[in-house]
């Protein structure tokens, strides 16, 4: 197991190298630079000064080597747009917000998804079952920003219960619950539907096992049968999908952050692409790649932990 983890961590190095290389090449394929989009025309002298300050007048391969060397030491350079702020600092700020939002959405997805899935399975082919099947089919095929906007129209505009957008920290990293509720539901709806599907299938399968019949036959209360035998065994597939779900929630909130004007990493990335802020784009991409790679590693380790039959 330790050897496997070490091998996977070593494999991370070439992946990250190529991620850096590809993003770097893509960025430099584009004609024009980060100062083209400014409204004020810039004098050639000033441009030259800026370019030499950020090393943009060096040959491209030299820029790449310098960047990689600095990145290895944890320095992702400076943002061209927010001058004098380091990319690492901006990413940390955005990530705090995105991570809180992503984890809340994950909690929502697991809570709602598991509940719906278990109820649907236990009451198979009942009205509740069909309702939850319909609900999750709807959630699975409605894009996040459509759902977000429909929620805004209903709960913020028509009913006026919740604010349209915003994200102000009120307690540690958490925002006001009224601000958090719509983005959390929007982001969590799709994974909730997915979890509900998997839970239903998994519970249905366990319910057919002999040991469940035995538990019932010996007169165990139905609640104990469900809690002690069914759920415990049905949880394995749910556990294994929550890893990739968590990674996709934390890294995939571009759209939801834009809809609700949440200052997370996704929104910062979109802004950076618009401004052609090389430093921010590179830094964010590398950071996302690391998060995804680590999440995949954790998931694979979890497979082993919950299923002792898998060996590496």
């Amino acid at each position: 197991m330790t050897g496997y983890v070490l091998r996977r961590l070593l494999w991370l190095a070439p992946v990250l190298f190529f991620v850096t290389l590809i993003t770097f090449v893509l960025m430099h394929l584009v004609p024009g630079g980060p100062w083209d989009t400014n409204n004020r025309p810039m004098s050639p002298q000033l441009r030259e000064q800026l370019e030499s300050k950020y090393g943009l007048d060096d040959p491209v391969w030299q820029q790449f080597l310098t960047y990689s060397w600095n990145a290895l030491q944890g320095d992702l350079g400076v943002s061209f747009q927010y001058q004098d702020r380091s990319v690492t600092e901006i990413i940390r700020e955005g990530m705090e917000v995105s991570a809180v939002l992503g984890l809340m959405a994950l909690a929502f997805a697991l809570l709602v998804g598991v509940t719906l899935g278990v109820v649907a399975a236990v009451k198979q082919n009942s009205l509740i079952d069909y309702a939850s099947v319909f609900l999750s089919t709807f959630a699975a095929s409605t894009p996040s920003f459509v759902l977000g906007i429909l929620l805004i129209v209903v709960f913020a505009v028509q009913l006026g219960w919740l604010p349209v957008f915003g994200w102000e920290k009120v307690w540690w990293l958490f925002p006001n619950w009224k601000q958090a509720i719509l983005p959390t539901v929007t982001l969590g709806a799709l994974p909730a539907a997915y979890v509900a599907r998997i839970t239903r299938a998994s519970v249905l399968e366990v319910l057919q096992q002999d040991y469940v019949r035995t538990a019932r036959a010996k007169g165990l209360h139905e609640r104990l049968v469900l809690g002690r035998h069914v759920l415990k065994n049905a949880v394995v597939p749910i556990l294994t999908v929550s890893g990739p779900i968590a990674a996709s929630l934390v890294t995939g909130s571009f759209i939801v952050e834009t809809v609700f004007a949440i200052p997370g990493l996704g929104k910062q990335f979109v802004a950076a692409v618009f401004q052609r802020d090389y430093g921010m784009i590179m830094g964010t991409t590398i950071f996302y790649a690391v998060v995804i790679a680590m999440a995949n590693l954790v998931v694979d380790m979890m497979y082993v932990a919950v299923n002792p039959r898998i060996r590496y």
Partner: protein, 307 residues
């Protein structure tokens, strides 16, 4: 694909029994799925709207009718009202069908055409090609999909690609999307290669090329077609999301994502301006998803599914 043996009823043993091929069985199973059949009708009517948008739409989608005024509710002339720049919402919705459908379908076609030969090559050729594809997929999976699509569409937008912003989006989504399908093609063909009928074909001296084209490929295609069908709603979503962020199709052209974005500014005064295009996106994506579900049940009846 081997069908589970069924107990023959007397009628089916008769010599004039109806001919049952793999594809005919699949068609029968598909038609039994009412949701999928309704979805086909929905998609067909969307396709008619897209092709004949110029004839169906009551107004020019870009014409500004400022005699009526901006942000007006529905009237006899403008059934769904006008937007912030006095354009007819219904006409823009109808013309938006063109973008969404062409992005969805053309991306799926492009992905299919690229992924099948590459996946087949990886499955049938030397280990080197196979390893190359697998390492490349590892690399692709290191990027979040949407991040890569955003980055690519931005880069492509600045380098002159013929065909305008719609072509750029199709290209960007296909470049990200083909990898998963190629992997599926590879896995399916490797699976088929171990089957007895392939051994039988080898035994009677069929060439490798012949086995690949007449046996492995058609038998691997079922799950691949299903997966490619699900590329359509994903691509429609990606285009709408990009246009919503403002990186997608360039503004004067009517797209549903762009309409949502424009309407969002006036969500307090005229919420319906956002609801119409949002509903159009959701309905279209849902229709394609149901068709995909139906195809999966029809072509791949043993696939494990939750519902």
């Amino acid at each position: 694909m081997v069908r589970a043996a069924t107990i023959p009823r007397p009628r089916e043993v008769e010599p004039q029994a109806e001919q049952r091929s793999l594809w005919r069985d699949a068609l029968r199973r598909f038609l039994r799925n009412r949701l999928a059949v309704v979805s086909i009708l929905v998609v067909l009517s969307l396709a008619v709207a897209a092709v004949f948008a110029g004839q169906i739409a009551p107004h020019d989608p870009s014409a500004q009718d400022c005699a009526t005024g901006a942000l007006r509710g529905s009237s006899a002339d403008h059934l769904l009202g006008t937007d912030a720049t006095c354009r007819d919402v219904l006409s823009r919705l109808i013309h938006g069908t063109r973008v969404s459908l062409s992005v969805g379908v053309l991306t799926a076609v492009a992905v299919f055409l690229v992924a099948v030969p590459i996946g087949a090559l990886a499955a049938l050729s030397t280990r080197l090609v196979d390893n190359l594809l697998m390492r490349f997929t590892d690399l692709t999976y290191a990027f979040p999909d949407l991040l890569m699509i955003i980055l690519l569409s931005r880069v492509l937008a600045d380098t002159a690609v013929p065909g305008g912003s719609v072509a750029i989006i199709i290209l960007a989504i296909s470049l990200v999307g083909w990898v998963t399908i190629a992997r599926l093609v590879r896995a399916q063909m490797l699976l088929q290669r171990e089957r007895e009928y392939v051994q039988a074909a080898e035994a009677i001296g069929a060439s490798r090329w012949r086995i690949a084209v007449t046996h492995l490929l058609p038998n691997s295609l079922g799950p691949v077609i299903v997966a490619v069908t699900f590329v359509v709603p994903q691509a429609i979503f990606a285009e709408a999301a990009l246009s919503f962020i403002g990186i997608g199709v360039t503004p004067p052209q009517a797209t549903w994502g762009g309409m949502v974005e424009a309407g969002y500014a006036a969500v307090y005064s005229v919420p319906m301006l956002v609801v119409y295009p949002a509903a159009a996106i959701a309905i279209t994506m849902m229709a394609f998803t149901f068709i995909g579900d139906g195809l999966r049940d029809a072509l791949d009846p043993r696939a494990v599914r939750g519902f």
